[in-house]
Symmetry: D2
Subunit: 262 residues, 4 copies
């Protein structure tokens, strides 16, 4: 499940809310066929209802997912108490044939999976970790601290705070930026894991603006455009996501160029 060891499909940048159920399964199935057997495939299977999430998780496992990454339901965020979220994830983990990774991404969902819920859920035998995209490193440190007795993996959800997350005890990352600067993000991981913090810091610094550009600043259209530049296939976004304007493209390019990546 850790970066460099596998692949994630249908995280927030996979446009999963725009895909039909069968498309979602097909993405998993095709990714599985394309990947070497020893590479882990982590698939985003979250839906709004518990029942739909269970069904999607089971189906994704059947077509090849090694683990399921389950985003917090969010439309009724005012009612998503710790108790409700614990109930939801427990049900999903009980019924999932593959391990479950919690996924908290407040920029999209408008809610943080509360720390007390994470701690409770970390004790479930089929819940193996969390992808935390909120960027609050104090919170990430606290989660590491309070789940230490479990075999629970904390993963940084974005490349902007990857070094800081490793420093505080995270064991990996799931980073949109790795779609574009994959080897650099893996290099940053290696520098952290081998204790080369000065070099890690230099590299991390140069990744912050590119990372913000393909996430918060320009979103999926920015990520896809950059993938095109770097020789991958980014392709179009589904509507209502819109292509970048020429001025936005220019600003995006500058965020990479000024850090020496273009």
């Amino acid at each position: 499940m850790m970066m460099g060891q596998g692949f994630v499909v249908q995280g927030s940048n996979g446009e999963f809310p725009f895909l039909t159920s069968s498309e979602r399964l097909e993405v998993v199935s095709r990714a599985r066929q394309a990947l070497p057997k020893d590479k882990l495939l982590l698939a985003g299977s979250g839906c709004e209802s518990t029942q739909a999430t269970v069904e999607m998780t089971v189906s994704m496992a059947q077509v090849g997912a090694d683990a399921a990454m389950v985003v917090t339901p969010c439309y009724y965020r005012g009612r998503m108490s710790s108790a409700a979220l614990i109930h939801h994830y427990t049900k999903v983990a009980d019924l999932s044939p593959v391990p479950v990774v919690l996924y908290s991404v407040p920029a999209n969902t408008g809610l943080d999976l509360p720390v007390d819920a994470v701690v409770t859920l970390s004790q479930h035998p089929n819940i193996v970790g969390i992808k935390d995209s909120g960027g609050d490193v104090t919170r990430i440190g606290l989660i590491v601290h309070k789940t230490r007795s479990q075999d629970f993996q904390v993963l940084a959800g974005s490349a902007g705070f990857l070094l800081a997350s490793y420093a505080i005890g995270a064991v990996g990352g799931v980073c949109a930026l790795a779609n574009v600067l994959g080897s650099q993000v893996c290099q940053l991981e290696r520098l952290c894991l081998t204790g080369q913090w000065e070099d890690a810091q230099k590299l991390q610094h140069r990744l912050i603006e590119p990372n913000t550009a393909v996430t918060r600043r320009f979103g999926i259209p920015g990520l896809k455009k950059t993938m095109d530049w770097f020789g991958y296939y980014g392709g179009p976004c589904r509507s209502p996501l819109q292509e970048l304007s020429p001025a936005q493209e220019e600003a995006l390019r500058l965020d990479f160029a000024s850090n020496g990546w273009l």
Copy 2:
């Protein structure tokens, strides 16, 4: 489309994010069969992608919806600029066989449909109004003001600010509370429309706490529990929504009792 003149299915309180596509259509179909022909049926057809929204809207029209109420897509709220939302709604309205009502509900979506987008969209021949659930009456007044030249209906999206919305120029409401206190909400409308503002004010005051109780405070579980109390069928919620605790039920009951409704 106006309160007292019709019914809405699959607004936010209809738990639409928890329903499958076929369930969503069945709800519309059954409601159509149950309703007298002269009663308008407004159906919530919003999905995250433009394409899915178009398909759902067309299908709902086929099974009997008289108009479609389309909530703003929200998972990628950081990219939901006016331009993106105008594009989305224009496409949906172009292809919808029935009139479209915009739907802005920031408590659930984390975004307001911007006023400038509403004004632009009000000029589309197949967009006939907006349900605004945000409760910002200054904004509602501005929308009325700037769409005055169009035949565009502004509907209050909650009973807590219904009187104020009528006072500022709204022509109706779509109110969760009407599931419980239907005749009272209709009575409030009549008092407003006939200029009996003093009586309207007294009635409105007594509806604020019950309304907050079944929306922001206790959400759908509160609404359903109250429906049971008032002799309707509320029934269970789908998970991850949780039933109310006894203490919450007590507080809910008090919000109705202290205003003379129980």
Copy 3:
């Protein structure tokens, strides 16, 4: 204390946080001298600490304030619970020689004076009302409803929701816009108080954009610039507030011109 019956100095637009204590008193003193005796003078006396607020309130009363408008302390907003705010206002009201008006302005303070605190405080014999600038008309209605048994005056804190506030039971307003369009704001009040709601609505509509322009959109620099245009003395702002750019001035002008005021 009601609009049309008096004047307010050192509300948020009076730049009170930029004035020294002696300047604050001098403003009150000079305003008192300039006003006819039968005109009420309401003076903003809020400070961060309870003790400073008491001292400022007493001093302002000595130099001629008829009542004190006391903004919520806000720097430690995380600790400003209902209990803390009730304690603060009770102490101030106990020691003030003149009546106290509560003042809630979340755009500046980042906190709303909670409704339960307002209801408790409304029972204090020396607390006579609240200026609510938040614009949440549901909340305003609830405050009117729950303080009805007291002789407690609810005042709209901005002209954008003045009509709606009257409709729901407010008895007056304290409006920045009245510095520029004073007679129009008073006219709106009269139309509301005499039940001429259609004319009131038309006038209210034309005041929303100008009001937003001199408050949320362009702030005090916008208000002062507009005062200059309308033949009053606006004058410079204290730093760090900055003058408007030419483009901002143009946009400000348009907000008045497009509604027929320039």
Copy 4:
């Protein structure tokens, strides 16, 4: 200015908004007298207006402050653009006889000093660093990255993210928790500066809950109560801050005890 090398008075936990101008100066003066000459004294001199901030800064320097820490003005946060803040700090730094440290503390002020403003201000010869209390380590890393060519010190504003801040390039910290666990916070600094990251991580983990307890969770009343427990003088808070309830005290104690500090 760096932790372990000096002392700060009148940061947010010094209750500076509750002190009169003369009290603020007296605090600085007395601290200067109590401190060894070689210990740096950093004094919070921020006020809402530029003029008052300049005067306070000059006066504090006269009574012994070695440097001034200047919080962002915040009452008119809607108008505190980068341009306004750059103007404010430039004026203060131009006229201050001692070096200036920027201070961004969004939990109290409701605004972040924008990164572009920090970068511009870092070029001022009399602005030597920033205390950033927001806890966004991505932002802190970006500030380090973009001010690298200047001699500009980035200081973590809270002990919860101190290790992460060092890891990403901060050179010190100004931490409320150091009032209680001073040697432990200094120990954490040493472990970071000497590259003992594993031990640092263990220590950091045990400081997160105590730190949150004396800041966000229980604020100044919590900090003072804890100081009493640890043999320092915490003393009472000024009103409107309220003492902790017995239940809150118990929770506070648990946050320290469960991490082995009590």
